[in-house]
Symmetry: D2
Subunit: 357 residues, 4 copies
């Protein structure tokens, strides 16, 4: 069958990328695209690269217009998705690219976002280890899915195998991310102007204020479980120093994440933890020893490439992960989760190869 | 008086930047420029931006040609400066932009560089705390000076105040640097091609292999002393996880350096450590609380801008420092040190303002 | 059936892009990849973004290794393809991404390339008007195909409709192109280093020396014919001022091409010329009046987007065309031509939508 | 003496660059900085690279606050400067970086800008040939100066020597410019966002609508005169096809300007025209035959570098000129003109050397 789809926030970067991927998906029909302030305009004015969808016109984002489709994607600023929950009650599958349904902890939501707390939905990172199994299992047949935060899923995928296997210590994680400005959306803010970003590395949210921190802590806490033999991890024992730096590339996340080596962990045990977690995965790949990834290698692809180094002098495992923030970090994760929810082949419409150079 | 100057390695990036700064220095005459493989060619073929020096022709790099000047700058690959030491014995002031005379430890040299060890020269970072005083005092009247490694001096300037004051724990430092490719020099290597670097974040030397690590450890060990009341720091107790990432900007270093907060250190004590160290400095500035620097703000300038955040949830101090790798990181440090050595005004020919946007 | 394929020059940019597109082609099997100096190494060392082909190992580029496949792609420096012509006589389909088989004029070859002249093959730009028909017709069932020069095909597609319709005067064409450095290949030359290209616009081959000039003149001369009613164009009457400028983007060509308005041509006639030529095309699209394309809109896509403006004050038609030099300019043109030669659906394995932002 | 200075529009790019240059000028004191919407904020919040001016606070832009200085710089959007003319009647020197006082033709103003026409002021491009002399002579002792449009002055400097000498035909000029986005100012517009500009070449104002066109025509018409022997040029006989393309560099203009070779002009005559015009200039330099400039070579400098090629096959002179739009294109031109107006050394506070790589 062909599923009818509506995409809200279709004039933005996340919405645009969802549309780009859906445009090559054989099982969906993009019936409706919406955008609040740009309603009535041609999609092509805002997404001129989506030539195959140039015939579409943006409608207003309202529950009435979104309802009546088989699948609805919400690509709205956080705090706005929640209001559609009830109104879209009859829609078989709703996927939210915003933050409203990611966190399980009301207090974490309150500390980092504020405003009304919404119930958590199935978290859209299929390859994450959760209690010894894969998150994929929670996505099969799901009807409500929360796509991940791009930085959060990148760091979580980087470290969860080591935490689950007990070979790294999650109490003193340090992660620094080189990120492209598209992760901040199409917001008209002075610090996102091209003149400010070209030729410069610009940090922001320094010192523990970034909203993706609780999302990472939640994923790491959920990593382990009975089957790993390492017991559950105390969320309060997970500490993360998190610093994002905007660099002059439109897309991409290069996350350098380090954690202390757990006492007694051997090099083989450490490497095996990641190999075991991702050895069978298509979209999350551990590179050979000595190799590190570049963001160009995953541009446009749904692939996370992981380089792993063990620095005994510093007593730290260093995990360098490259992701396209708009694909594996957002829209690709959403489509991959959609495929799982619908029982389709998981890799449909998703590329494993990047566009480089 | 006017000092006669020779600059070797004049066709490279470090040599070119030394020339750019010297070109506006009122007390020097650039008499000789040398470059091994490009000897005989016009300087302007290799440094077309140095319009005021377009009349110069590159000579061969030999001791005979370099001798007979008041000041000689060596901007050569590591391992090549050492051979000029004896031959330039009569030159009043020699400044080496290479690594050969930076390290005091033969074993550290052997581990990270290899080849013949050379005696250490006065280290060219005037603002560094050394034993409770400033490195500046060791540069006044110096005759042999080792300009710093760009990444090393950036990280050292970032952390030395906290180590000297005993408010951070140097045993578990993590630093990740976004760096421009000019730091790697004008080497014809595939990974330095524009097509590889544009639009991508590319890590290298991951896992503790970068040659600037021992230089940082040396600076941090020397930081403290009797006058600080914190006693000396055991070099073996200094551990650094160090990861550089090449990002698409020609110049610049944005170093994010974190270290655990020392037990009992208050926020005021922490901030005071940096304020006390740099409050009177022209070229190293602590930004107001809540501000972080961008590399664009120091482009072309001899300025290091430092943003400081205290992340109690992660139990880490986060120091974000922006530097122009070719100026404050290399050539500016060399000229500033030259000024000190000659008894000139320290800031001569050095800009505090960056070229932005 | 599944066609077996060999790709030479597989460690370079053109070869890599051919592989990226073939990797998603349902009708081919990539059996052999070759590269002269890198033979014996894993493909993934040179093309780390091609994750689905990471199992392949580069072999030497020899006629023996290339022979025995259904399709051979030659992605070699000009002057090197010619020698394989005879040796690959039994290969059903050979596609050359180099220049050796593009020009029909031995004297043009001699003036701009030199060395042995090779017979012209079917020119791989399906949408070009040739004598009132489309070049596509010459590619159906072809066994030897010359993929175009990226700049040449971009400019030819820009202007051919106007020349064929007689609404512009080809005797005084001026074209200036903003191009990414990947068009120059993975050559280790100082002017292609990232440090030289970042933050700078760098012209080259100024003053009429670029090798793509005769290729454009050839296409424009062939544009018209009996069916257009405009008669044939005298090749000697075609004059082109051609200036490429390397700008800091890995891929892309933005060609601004202007030509005098032919006496008496109305705005409607002018616009109709392009509309008639491309109105039914998938991969070459004329944008609505007032719209201009950006290279980001075609990144990774086989699409040429054309913006057309009529400047009566300057008496010139201005055609701005955006192309991904590695796709529509090279590898995509090759695959599209391959599809035509084999009788497959012309658009197979080729994207119309760009990857943006 | 020390001149007191007020700079309006101090939070923008033009204002910021005026301040950067003035900060190293020995004869001025920056007393007042103003910015309408940001009044009351620290200058450092908007110009964090101007460390030596970090103590300044932005005041409101009003005639009262600007009056009472020796020199006032207006860096305001066009249409806003005019209202200050009367109010600043007692200020000895006013320099407008906006467009209000550039054009001498009310009808040209009306066609391209609209709104009230203001009297033309002395045009701030000292090296321009005007009636056989240099514009410099009109700036000595001037009290009201209009700094040029960045694109306009770049193209005018490129072509005026050839027009004045009668070796090129101004009736069919074609110019295409690669420009950095800072030329568009700090405007919050979607097409100026970093995500839109990174990795892309984006044309705008295609087809003859750019506001700098009449400014170029005016300069070319004024180029010749009795002393050149070529007679005056009819303004209506000057036709320019003008296309700017935003490319991913924060600053810089690379203008490729072509014009037909005048009948009978020899190569020597052509080259001599530019050599004679600029051979004695410091800031406008003709490169040796075969050399072309790059924008990186003039970054931060007040230098215009010109490469000249004669393409006999295309019958066109090609002039490629590199300029830093914020320096020679705007703020440097303003300071150079100020120096002339005040009788100071013309080169004070202006660099001839660029910051590269």
């Amino acid at each position: 069958m062909t599923y009818s789809v509506a995409v809200s926030g279709a004039s933005g970067y996340a919405g645009g990328e969802i549309l780009r991927l859906l445009a090559s998906h054989p099982d969906v029909e993009i019936r409706t695209v919406t955008a609040h302030s740009n309603a009535g305009q041609k999609l092509s004015e805002h997404q001129p690269h989506l030539r195959s969808l140039a015939h579409l016109t943006l409608q207003d984002t309202t529950p009435e217009i979104l309802a009546g489709h088989d699948i609805v994607f919400l690509a709205l600023p956080h705090g706005q998705s929640g209001q559609y929950t009830d109104a879209l009650g009859d829609v078989p599958l709703v996927i939210d690219a915003g933050a409203d349904h990611r966190l399980t902890s009301p207090s974490a939501w309150d500390s980092f976002y504020g405003g009304a707390f919404h119930e958590p939905w199935a978290y859209g990172v299929p390859e994450l280890l959760v209690g010894g199994a894969k998150q994929r299992e929670h996505l099969r047949g799901a009807t409500r899915i929360a796509a991940p935060g791009c930085n959060a899923s990148t760091v979580s995928l980087s470290l969860v195998p080591g935490v689950a296997a007990g070979v790294i210590d999650p109490s003193d994680i340090v992660t620094v991310l080189a990120v492209g400005p598209s992760g901040a959306g199409k917001s008209l803010k002075p610090h996102l102007l091209g003149s400010e970003i070209l030729g410069s590395a610009n940090p922001y949210a320094v010192g523990g204020t970034h909203r993706h921190i609780p999302e990472i802590r939640q994923a790491l806490a959920a990593a382990s479980g009975p089957s790993t033999g390492s017991g559950t991890v105390d969320p309060d024992g997970i500490r993360i120093s998190f610093t994002p730096v905007i660099v002059p590339m439109a897309r991409g996340i290069l996350a350098t994440s380090t954690a202390p080596i757990a006492p007694g962990a051997t090099d083989a045990q450490i490497r095996d933890a990641w190999q075991a977690a991702y050895g069978d995965e298509t979209f999350v790949q551990l590179l050979p020893e000595g190799s590190v990834p570049r963001t160009a290698d995953v541009l446009g692809a749904n692939t996370a490439l992981i380089g792993l180094a063990i620095d005994r002098a510093a007593n730290r495992v260093v995990v360098v992960t490259a992701v396209d923030n708009l694909v594996k970090g957002t829209a690709g994760a959403a489509i991959q989760s959609m495929n799982l929810a619908l029982g389709l082949t998981e890799t449909t419409a998703l590329s494993i190869n990047g566009v480089a150079p």
